[in-house]
């Protein structure tokens, strides 16, 4: 059975349409990633799925429970970690955890095994105020608080935003273990590089889903070939590439440009030649394989 099924969810704030006709299915026991830039509507969707907000239209079920009608039962079986650190800064680590355990009618001792792995990392600081923890530790505490009542589905809204690279990697390892324990994890992130860690994902932009599938499926759906181009004068080079015939799109990508081209119309040598003709003789061009970000750029500009 699917853990989450939502159909045709729309939500507007006044004139701003935050979500437009969103439909998703999330299988039980998988890590499902919602990938999209800031302002794409990720948090709105989270709030609707966690019964915090009502959608204008559409319906949804989490673990077979309706997100509107059965919100009371639903609140017992989901865990939610909002995007912002939302624990009590003036309470200690232990007090925060105890409080949230009590709110869900359980105790930390009863569910210690569930959070042991994560909690053991912050346990040495159990008596420290939550506000005095480092970013990574705050995140672990928030995760513990969301997990302490053994939820069936865990909603994590941008858990890795503002966390350093090492902590982010640790965090995804933790998520994989949580998934292995049978919990469905629904996670959102603005970082495309984290998409590969998800079992399945949905790309969201301006309130619409522009693609779903496993990371491999999404990458396999990329219909062009990709060149990584590097040169001295990067911005004129970008403009020149966009004018070059046969190139579908070109975007800046870190220290290089990713240019998608139709292999039946042009090729690496042809592009290199036309670049030198335009006065960009000093650039290096490499074939590269597309990533989720390339797919996202293509899908969102289609």
């Amino acid at each position: 059975m699917d853990a989450i099924v939502i159909e045709g969810i729309s939500k507007s704030y006044g004139d701003v349409r935050a979500l437009q006709d969103i439909s998703l299915q999330v299988g039980s026991g998988e890590i499902f990633g919602l990938i999209g830039p800031d302002g794409a509507g990720k948090t709105s969707l989270f709030r609707i799925m966690t019964t915090l907000m009502l959608a204008d239209s559409g319906s949804g079920k989490v673990c077979g429970l309706d997100i509107v009608k059965d919100c009371r039962q639903l609140r017992r079986i989901i865990g939610y970690m909002p995007g912002r650190f939302s624990l009590y800064q003036d309470l200690t680590v232990r007090e925060n955890l105890d409080y949230f355990a009590t709110l869900f009618g359980t105790t930390v001792r009863d569910n210690y095994s569930n959070i042991k792995e994560i909690y053991s990392q912050i346990e040495p600081f159990a008596d420290r105020r939550a506000g005095k923890l480092s970013g990574g530790m705050k995140q672990k505490l928030a995760l513990c608080c969301a997990l302490v009542h053994r939820p069936s589905v865990l909603f994590l809204d941008e858990p890795t935003t503002g966390v350093d690279a090492v902590s982010r990697r640790d965090f995804w390892t933790m998520l994989a273990r949580i998934r292995d324990a049978g919990v469905t994890v629904f996670v959102s992130t603005p970082y495309m590089d984290e998409a590969a860690m998800c079992d399945r994902l949905a790309l969201i932009r301006d309130g619409s889903i522009i693609g779903t599938g496993t990371p491999d499926e999404i990458i396999a759906g990329f219909p062009f070939r990709l060149l990584s181009v590097r040169g001295r004068r990067m911005y004129p080079l970008l403009k020149e590439l966009r004018k070059t015939p046969g190139i579908v799109s070109c975007f800046s990508f870190g220290d290089s440009h990713h240019a998608a081209y139709r292999p039946e119309e042009t090729g690496k040598e042809k592009i290199l030649a036309s670049l030198s003709a335009a006065g960009f003789g000093d650039c290096t061009v490499m074939e590269t394989s597309p990533g989720i970000e390339d797919c996202f750029m293509w899908l969102s500009h289609r």
């Binding site: 019964t51 907000m53 909002p82 912002r84 939302s86 007090e95 949230f100 709110l103």
Partner: protein, 370 residues
């Protein structure tokens, strides 16, 4: 029930760990009582009087002596010319001046017409009115004695004796203790409750509370408990200070007074909850409480200005301020020492307000985000 207890404990931790909150809530009643009791007193004591007149005239001397011997008045200096009065007032060397007319003693004879001018400092009209009233009283006494000495017999004289029941010494503390009580209880219950709920909205913790299976009503009630406790502590502090420092008696039933306070506290808590529902952040909540509650309470509850002398429309407005009714009840029970029967109407009004506000605020409390 366990959830409720845990929430109450958590709320107490928030308060006791925030030194500023605890300082404000604990020190505010003490500071206000002391401030109103000693600094912002409306009584006039030790008035400095300057005079201008001929000291060789026995009639002038007699009036000056009488002024100097009055408990509230004190002669500070003699001016040689009435023109000096302005300078004396400007340098704040005297609060009032008395000028005797030329040939004062001679004109005092039955045929004549002796004149005395009393000059007050009108830049502070309330005090000036009181001071000139005192001096007038002293001169009236002197006039009565003068008549006796000239005619040798007492004429028919009406001398009114004013007695203020419940407050014979006209102490202003009888007025401000109920006022401060109302103000503090309202501030603690309404402002602090509103701010503490809105703070959770601001930090996002309310989101977590709402997704938990606990009923939001319990969470709100748990947030009110610590403030109920704090207001009980403050109520006791004010009563003790009023009784032992300000010597304000508790003439009526203490139990009844506590019941009235509880009634008022519940009204204020409900109001706080309502404000928290409509304000998106702490700043708005504070502004609504400050501008929309504290100020009208100060002005319209009768602490400073009597409601009876306000225009009709403002009187109607003052009727919707809970503190006004509470202050009336406290005055009745505490100062007049009357029982439930005489304060029943006000108690009923306050209870009605509490019920209405509680119903509206619970009804409008949203269990979801906007």
């Amino acid at each position: 029930m366990k959830e409720f207890a845990a929430s109450v404990v958590k709320e107490f931790r928030h308060i006791f760990r925030d030194k500023r909150t605890i300082l404000i809530t604990m020190a505010m009643p003490v500071v206000q009582i002391i401030l109103f009791g000693f600094a912002v007193s409306t009584e006039v004591n030790d008035v400095r009087v300057a005079f201008c007149g001929d000291m060789s005239d026995p009639a002038v001397r007699s009036v000056v002596d009488r002024i100097d011997n009055n408990g509230y008045l004190r002669i500070v200096r003699r001016l040689s010319d009435p023109g000096e009065i302005t300078g004396v007032f400007r340098r704040d060397e005297a609060d009032a001046a008395v000028c005797f007319g030329r040939n004062f003693g001679g004109n005092l004879a039955p045929s004549g017409h002796a004149q005395i001018r009393i000059i007050g400092d009108g830049s502070d009209p309330n005090t000036a009115r009181m001071i000139t009233g005192y001096i007038k009283g002293v001169i009236q006494d002197e006039q009565g004695d003068a008549e006796v000495s000239f005619t040798g017999e007492r004429k028919a004289v009406m001398s009114p004796v004013v007695q203020l029941m419940y407050n014979p010494a006209m102490k202003s503390s009888y007025n401000f203790v109920p006022g401060v009580m109302g103000l503090i209880l309202m501030l603690i219950c309404t402002m602090m409750t509103a701010v503490s709920i809105v703070r959770e909205k601001e930090t996002g913790t309310l989101e977590l509370l709402l997704v938990s299976p606990v009923r939001p009503l319990w969470i709100m009630l748990s947030k009110m408990m610590p403030y109920l406790f704090l207001s009980a502590v403050n109520f006791t502090t004010i009563l003790l200070l009023a009784h032992y420092v300000m010597k304000v008696p508790v003439n009526g039933s203490l139990f009844l007074l506590c019941v009235a306070a509880l009634d008022f506290v519940v009204t204020s808590l409900a109001l706080g909850l309502l404000i928290s529902v409509i304000s998106p952040n702490q700043k708005t909540a504070l502004l609504i409480c400050g501008m929309g509650l504290t100020m009208p309470t100060m002005i319209f509850s009768g602490i400073i200005f009597p409601c009876e002398s306000m225009p009709r429309v403002l009187q109607w407005f003052s009727d919707i301020i809970p503190a006004k009714w509470f202050i009336i009840i406290v005055k009745k029970i505490m100062i007049q020492g009357t029982g439930l029967a005489s304060a029943a109407r006000e108690m009923l009004i306050l209870t009605g307000m509490a019920a209405l506000l509680l119903a509206v605020s619970i009804k409008s409390f949203r269990t979801r985000l906007q």
